[in-house]
């Protein structure tokens, strides 16, 4: 029978090492939760206005203070979590200052105001700045597995962004959270960092108390409820939930180092880590050897002496978790797993012997599907890497995974197939201590992102301030008239590549700007109705147009070069000649050139430019459709045929249209009339002029 942790407004914990009772902590009342949040809100503006650098200085000092008082942390974590001093120093306490300094470096460029990129042509006189402003009061709910370090990711990010923070530590580790608030609070302004104590009910009260954003770290089951509650309050929530991390051990791994690495990341913090290895996939080739060495190493770890000072693996932190671990191991054995070492409780406290389970072949067993959160290493033997990847991805969780191999290239390739937030090669999960690295997962591991600039999007919101210095009206304002429509059409034409249509755009914009203001001054549609008078600019444009367009048309009429004629002739011969054994009489070269010239000259501008484009694209087609720097006429007959075939069947509509143009061009004069008549294949009616 589990004893209730929270009862009668008091939190009662026992030390997991020897189950002696700890000093009770009072639960925060509902009214006090509201009051704490209200005080935090009152304190936040000053903290926000302090400026980034000032906040950075204060937070660094607070970090130093936490390091100086590390002895208090060691004692508290021994009592609340039964952790060994070495593990506490390396895993929790030591990170404080470094974490803060790194967060400052990550956040500094992100939080600077940024200029809004805005087109001066489309939006004249307008400028804007995008600022990252703090959300206000951020609530942070954290679990018990790392009673101190769990706070580093969210608390420092929220504070450096200018938010006030209200913590709700787990009811299994209330004292560590209170210590953090007290220690940092000595250097931060009053009420900027506060905490409330209690169980799930207090957590719910915190969410309902009017906070502006929430970060929840904990189990998937609770995460879903929290997300629902946050949605009701319409506040953003960042969820960082459980994991079921896999290690894929390949036959070519660095054997000893892999054994050591897998053992550490599976058993660190007694396995109570969201980023701990909970599944090990080993290739058959080395499985026997691997299990043997791993079991030997695990069995040699010290536990259960009753004194964490002389243990490698500490006890579990809470009673309920110990029951889960026992249940998982029992379930695995029932499903055919073999216990190689460990597998049972030990000592007076919440100790569990580090366990290696071999032959976990049934993918349904709990130890492979649900977070065990204990010192258990299930081994799954696999045929090859592909099977391991498939099994890894078949899981409902996707926080981290690691591949252990000497072939780094292959390791990288496999890593990219894994459906996880972070994939490691030859290591695991250590990036949780690096603020620049996103810590996130997929599927049931939650959609939150802790650490990195991605996380700052949760603790700040963008505020855009736009200034318009333009003294003229905007061209798209009322009234709507024909000029506006023309302007719209021309802007659209410019975007689809008709540059010429854009020449008049500045004039139309100027006219629209005048019209809008005249409309307001002179009233009802008078301005729009008045006969359009041509201003100086419009007249100047007319003059330019009169000169420019004939010039362009003339350019379009410039005769074809010899090379263009050759390309056109070769194209037509390829389209219209039957090789080999073509019974038709080839058209003489000069005559063919004449056909092309005739056609080109007859097409109106700009259609003749289209023909020119078609000739060029055909002439140069081999350069893009086949290797070798050759133009069409330099290819062999068959290659010419293939090239043109490829063009006629192109996926591109434009190319097909060009192709059709060439087909028509040739068809009109070259093939249909001359060639067909030359073989008498088609009795084309004679011209009546020739009849008499």
């Amino acid at each position: 029978m589990l004893e209730a942790v929270v009862s009668n407004g008091v939190i009662r914990n026992r030390c997991p090492v020897d189950l002696h009772p700890l000093v009770p902590v009072p639960v925060t009342t509902d009214a006090d939760v509201t009051a704490v949040v209200a005080r935090a809100r009152a304190a936040q503006p000053k903290w926000g206005q302090l400026g980034f650098e000032q906040r950075a200085v204060l937070m660094k000092r607070a970090g130093k203070l936490m390091l100086q008082r590390r002895q208090e942390v060691l004692e508290l974590l021994h009592d609340e979590a039964g952790k060994t001093p070495g593990e506490v120093l390396m895993g929790e306490s030591l990170g404080a200052l470094q974490f803060i300094s790194d967060w400052i470096a990550v956040a500094r460029p992100y939080l600077k105001p940024k200029k809004l990129p805005i087109s001066r042509v489309a939006f004249p006189g307008k400028s804007g700045v995008i600022e990252s402003v703090p959300r206000g009061v951020v609530g942070i709910i954290s679990p018990w597995n790392f009673p101190l370090a769990n706070f580093f990711k969210p608390v420092f990010a929220a504070l450096i962004s200018g938010n006030a923070v209200v913590l709700k530590p787990s009811e299994h580790s209330p004292r560590m959270g209170a210590w953090l608030v007290k220690t940092m609070g000595e250097l931060l302004p009053v009420d900027v960092l506060t905490c409330v104590q209690g169980d799930a009910w207090v957590g719910q009260q915190l969410i309902r108390s009017g906070i502006d954003a929430l970060t929840f770290t904990g189990s998937t089951q609770t995460g879903r409820k929290v997300a629902k509650l946050a949605a009701e309050q319409m506040i953003p929530v960042s969820l960082e939930l459980g994991g079921k991390d896999a290690a894929i051990v390949l036959a070519d791994c660095d054997f000893d180092r892999t054994v050591a690495g897998v053992m550490h990341w599976a058993l660190t913090n007694a396995g109570q880590s969201c980023g701990g290895i909970e599944r090990v996939f080993v290739e058959n080739a080395i499985a026997d050897r691997f299990v043997e060495r791993l079991a030997a190493a695990v069995a040699a770890l010290r536990v259960s002496s009753g004194d964490p000072q002389s243990a490698d693996v500490g006890p579990l932190i809470q009673q309920a978790q110990l029951q889960v671990v026992e249940e998982h191991v029992g379930d695995a054995i029932a499903h055919g797993a073999k216990v190689v070492c460990g597998g049972k409780r030990s000592g007076k406290g919440l100790w569990f012997e580090p366990t290696v389970l071999d032959h976990c072949a049934d993918p349904e067993m709990k130890v492979l599907t649900e977070p065990t959160f204990g010192p258990v290493i299930p081994i799954v033997r696999v045929k090859n890497a592909d099977e391991a990847v498939a099994l890894t991805n078949a899981c409902d969780y996707g926080l981290n995974a690691s591949v252990w191999t000497k072939d780094l290239e292959r390791g990288n390739a496999i890593a990219r197939q894994l459906q996880v937030g972070t994939a490691f090669i030859n290591n695991h999960a250590f990036t949780g201590a690096i603020p620049a690295a996103p810590w996130t997962g997929v599927k049931s591991s939650g959609y939150g992102i802790a650490n990195s600039t991605f996380a700052l999007g949760h603790y700040t919101r963008p505020r855009t301030v736009v200034t318009d210095k333009n003294t003229k009206a905007d061209a798209w304002w009322f009234p709507i008239d024909a000029t506006m429509e023309e302007l719209g059409h021309r802007l659209a034409e410019v975007q689809v590549g008709n540059v010429l249509a854009g020449l008049k755009v500045p004039l139309l914009i100027a006219e629209r700007q005048r019209t809008v203001l005249r409309f307001v001054r002179e009233g009802i549609h008078k301005a729009a109705e008045a006969a359009p008078k041509k201003g100086l600019a419009a007249r100047a444009f007319g003059a330019v147009e009169a000169k420019l367009f004939p010039a362009l048309a003339k350019l379009g009429k410039t005769g074809l070069t010899q090379r263009e004629r050759t390309w056109a002739r070769v194209t037509m011969e390829t389209i219209y000649v039957r090789k080999p054994g073509d019974p038709t009489v080839p058209v003489p070269r000069e005559e063919a050139d004449q056909y092309v010239d005739d056609f080109y000259a007859a097409l109106p501008f700009p259609s003749n430019l289209g023909l020119r484009a078609a000739i060029w694209s055909y002439g140069l087609a081999p350069l893009v459709t086949r290797p070798g720097l050759k133009t069409l006429e330099q290819l062999a007959d068959e290659e010419q045929q293939e090239t043109i075939q490829a063009f006629a069947q192109s996926k591109s509509y434009l190319v097909r249209q060009l192709s059709l143009l060439m087909k028509t061009t040739g068809g009109m004069k070259y093939a249909a009339t001359s060639r067909l008549r030359s073989v008498g294949a088609v009795p084309i009616p004679k011209n009546p002029r020739a009849r008499a």
Binding site: A482, H489, R490, E493, L500, A501, A531, P532, E545, A546, F549, P550, T574, I575, Y576, V577, R578, K579, D582, T584, D598, F599, A602, L603, P604, S607, G610, Q641, I644, Q645, A648, Q649, Y653, R656, Q657, L660, K663, T664, G667, M668, K669, A671, A672, T673, L676, V679, A681, V682, P683, I684, P685, K686, N687, P688, R689, A690, R691, A692
Partner: protein, 525 residues
């Protein structure tokens, strides 16, 4: 002026210069200085609408000047060579496009007679419910009912010898179409045409060189000139000039920039009949500012399908279009037609290039070609951009699915009469070897860019209606908020028709001209 070069035929055609009243034709290509003229009515365009209207005014005793942008290509000058025909008589050599998701060529005649010189001379009256729909749904309110148009249609049919295609000139393409339709149980009709004794030369599309197709250039234009009208050819109307809100005349230019100008003053009015593509742009250039001008532009979309047989078909003989099927007009807004194409145009429909293409073309004798015209639901816009008319048109997905359905029916028909191979002319769709392959149509692309579609009949852009906000032309055929500018061509049609429009255009123009003649002139302002 130099006399045009005559062909060697001893036969005389109605459009021969020597048969026309002296001085009634001014060839703009040969004009060397600016010209001024004056007439009661100035008609812009000599196509189905312009020529019909001009004849009515001339017969009523008014002086009329017709301004035509294209040249007058005489019957004796017609060549069976498609290149020559397109160069002389097609606007921009057929390269004028409506842009949108895909490019649709806007095929229009640009010569005396307009598109009537290069079309298949099909004379169908419009569906009664379409015309009456204009009255009930588009605010015409009885201003132009089918009943009112009826006597005009009757008169046109008499004057222009409208009759069904004769058995003698049916040709295999049409005959097989009828046969296939019967086999599939589809309703099909013998086409009615403006037929002056067709020889079955299958050359409608390049200008009928036998002179038997009764287009405007050999009928109403010469008749107008005999009745006292005058025509300026190769003269592009730049704008309608107005003063105090009243049309005073037309400014035109004989060809490209820098060529001499023509100014014709209009005593009574200017009749704009420049086609649905050109009219809106011309009015925009004429400083007409109406929100609906250039909107509600609609078309008929057309494409065709070629099939190969084991035996000879011979598309070079027969009526160009002698049979059609209106079976699906009511249900799917599409109309199937037989269509004989000359080899140059058939080429575009044949798949592949090189040996494959030539093998197919060498089989020209054994090919037949059938077409589909659909009545799309989409509207586009048309208007003047830098002096050139630009049209925008994107077909609706339902329209393309109708084209696809029609091509499937045509392919089924072809197989029903023994086709060995069918070229579906949809990009990415293989050639069909047997009726079993018909299912490829069900999964064929619906992207308009994968079809060889052209816009064959154009409507709207200056549609008729009572309200100046939603229409451009009033119920009296005058452009809203102006006096003396009348529009009589298909640009006033509120919707497309579903059948070949020449007859409707002529009927409406004739009706409109009589209405204008019957209205007393307003006092001069």
């Amino acid at each position: 002026m130099n006399a045009p070069s005559f062909g060697t035929s001893s036969q005389l055609f109605p459009d021969d210069l020597e048969l026309l009243p002296e001085g009634s034709v001014v060839d703009g290509a040969e004009v060397e200085g600016d010209l001024d003229d004056i007439a009661d009515y100035v008609v812009i365009g000599s196509g189905a609408a312009g020529a019909t209207a001009a004849l009515q005014f001339a017969r009523a005793g008014h002086s009329v000047v017709i301004i035509e942008e294209g040249p007058w290509v005489r019957t004796r000058e017609f060549s069976p060579d498609v290149f020559v025909a397109m160069r002389q008589m097609f606007r921009d050599m057929g390269s004028n496009m409506a842009s949108g998701r895909a490019l649709f060529p806007l095929v229009q005649g640009m010569c005396v007679g307009g598109s009537t010189t290069i079309n298949s001379a099909i004379a169908w009256r419009p569906p009664e419910q379409v015309v009456d729909g204009w009255n009930s749904h588009f605010g015409l309110g009885g201003a132009m009912t089918f009943k009112a148009l009826d006597p005009h249609f009757t008169e046109l049919e008499r004057e222009l010898s409208v009759r069904p295609v004769d058995d003698k000139v049916l040709g295999n393409d049409n005959r097989l179409f009828a046969e296939a339709a019967t086999k599939l149980g589809l309703k099909s009709e013998r086409v009615q045409r403006y037929d002056g004794g067709c020889d079955g030369s299958a050359m409608c599309l390049t200008g009928c060189s036998t002179g038997k197709k009764l287009g405007m250039a050999v009928t109403y234009v010469p008749q107008s000139l005999h009745a006292g009208a005058k025509i300026y050819t190769s003269a592009k109307a730049l704008k309608v000039e107005s003063k105090y809100g009243r049309a005073t005349g037309v400014l035109a230019r004989f060809g490209a920039r820098g060529r001499p100008m023509l100014r014709v003053r209009a005593r009574r009015g200017v009749i704009v009949a420049a086609s649905a593509v050109q009219t809106a742009g011309l009015l925009q250039r004429s400083a007409v500012r109406l929100p609906a001008l250039g909107k509600y532009f609609s078309v008929h979309l057309a494409t065709s399908m070629t099939a190969a047989f084991n035996h000879s078909i011979g598309m070079e003989f027969g009526a160009t279009q002698g049979f059609n099927s209106t079976h699906f007009v009511g249900t799917d807004r599409l109309k199937l037609e037989a269509l004989c194409l000359p080899p140059e145009m058939t080429l575009v429909r044949l798949p592949g290039v090189g040996r494959r293409l030539m093998d197919n073309l060498m089989n020209y004798q054994r090919l037949l070609n059938w077409a589909v015209v659909i009545r799309p639901e989409a509207y586009g816009t048309v208007g003047d951009v830098l002096g050139k008319t630009m049209a925008r048109y994107t077909a609706a997905p339902t329209d393309i699915s109708r084209v696809r359905k029609a091509l499937k029916v045509l392919a089924e028909m072809a197989f029903a009469v023994g086709a060995k191979e069918v070229f579906p002319s949809i990009h990415g769709t293989p050639d069909l070897k047997s009726p079993d392959d018909l299912k490829v149509f069900d999964n064929a692309s619906l992207d308009p860019r994968d079809y060889g579609i052209m816009a064959s009949h154009m409507f709207g852009g200056a549609r008729m209606g009572p309200d100046a906000k939603t229409s451009a032309v009033g119920l009296d055929f005058q452009v809203h908020q102006t006096r003396g500018i009348y529009v009589l061509d298909s640009s006033i049609f509120p919707t497309n028709l579903g059948v070949n429009p020449q007859h409707t255009i002529m009927g409406v123009a004739r009706f409109g001209a009589h209405k204008i003649l019957a209205t007393p002139l307003p006092p001069r302002g």
